[in-house]
Subunit: 233 residues, 2 copies
């Protein structure tokens, strides 16, 4: 039991953990990064990357550090999701966890993952194995938040490379929302938002007409987030 009191009785010790819901698109489906637990409890079970917060670091930093340590991925923007504070969510005793989530482009991540410490793997969110602790609940919460958030922010872009085609962008929205979108309406909407800039490059995808590559123009995003982006359909 971790709970302790210091001499003056004003503080009670709790263990604080962080857990990271990291999502990507791979093969046209949304996938979640899981690591295999090497210690009890739930030894051998799949779990979210994460671990305990050290006394000297911020909670945000702990999330980044754990992700770095367990999956060798770093330098990404983690958004705080929710804090889960039920007394019995960890069989070892009282552990409160602060959950984070992020979307990453799989290709960029793949490179960094070569020399991993922990066994890690991507699972389609529609077919997850049994998860340790209450991690399933955390994942469900993250997915719900994501589907909501894609309607008024630019999270859909985090899944793509720096340059991307409009078809790829539409695909990331479709995977997150779980529904098909109309090509003409989607393109008109995205282009008129003014956050995309066409490049002179094209992407050849086999034996069809190559598609123009676009980039994301950061500066205009802030204003949009105030107004709220509404995606077609």
């Amino acid at each position: 039991m971790p709970a302790t009191s210091n001499p003056n009785g004003h503080f009670t010790g709790h263990a604080i953990a962080v857990d990271v819901v990291l999502l990507t698109i791979l093969g046209g489906t949304l996938k979640l990064l899981l690591v295999k637990r090497e210690q009890a409890p739930y030894r051998g079970a799949w779990a979210l990357p994460g671990g305990l917060v050290s006394p000297e670091e911020s909670v945000d930093d702990a999330a980044l550090r754990e992700l770095q340590e367990e999956t060798n991925i770093g330098n990404i923007y983690l958004e705080q999701l929710y804090t889960f504070g039920e007394p019995n969510r960890d069989p070892r005793g009282r552990v409160i966890t602060v959950a984070y989530y992020a979307l990453v482009n799989w290709q960029q991540f793949q490179l960094k993952a070569r020399q991993r410490v922990t066994e890690a793997s991507w699972f389609p969110v529609k077919r997850l194995p049994p998860l340790a602790f209450d991690h399933r609940r955390i994942v469900d919460y993250a997915l719900e938040r994501l589907r909501n958030k894609i309607n008024y922010t630019t999270v859909g872009f985090q899944l793509l490379s720096r340059q991307f085609t409009l078809t790829e962008l539409q695909g990331s929205y479709e995977v997150i929302l779980g529904q098909r979108l109309d090509k003409r309406n989607f393109r008109r909407k995205m282009l008129q938002l003014g956050i995309l800039k066409g490049t002179r490059d094209f992407k050849a995808n086999g034996r069809q007409r190559p598609a123009r590559l676009y980039t994301f123009t950061e500066p205009k995003v802030i204003k949009l987030q105030e107004k709220g982006i509404i995606v077609p359909y």
Copy 2:
């Protein structure tokens, strides 16, 4: 210092606190409930109601309990806001705080608040005194979230009594958004949402024509939250 490790070295103790941003409308302005600190640090300063989480209770329960203890207000819905986890936000040592917020109807609260333990008072959010710890930052964050949330949820209703006039409802939206709304558009929008039910009662407000009282029809709200409520203007 509260930080401790247990024998096996796997757990590190942290103090977990909760803080509650409780808002109401009083005299046409948005007000925040603050309590006067009776102990060091920041003794005598105004602070958010809150305190440390006990080992046996959930974080949500702790927020409700602290609010009950310090202000004698209970039985309200607290929404989790954000977890603040910087290492040096409390001069006593490492304290991570989970912030909550809620809107209440002042008249209902007033009754309950008569017999308070701690000195507490409502302050207009535009003229707050210096606050203890990083509570100012927490308040600012709550206000930002609230202004955002009122556009797609029904938080504006929590400020009112069970029966209310459309003018009162509009007033609560105006106070939160900090801008005037058009009466005709506001009424049309609210009525067509289908979440209001007119009663046969009227509220006489002096020497004008009395206004019809409405109630809020809970069941339809869930569907609306999926679609998102857009308030006129």
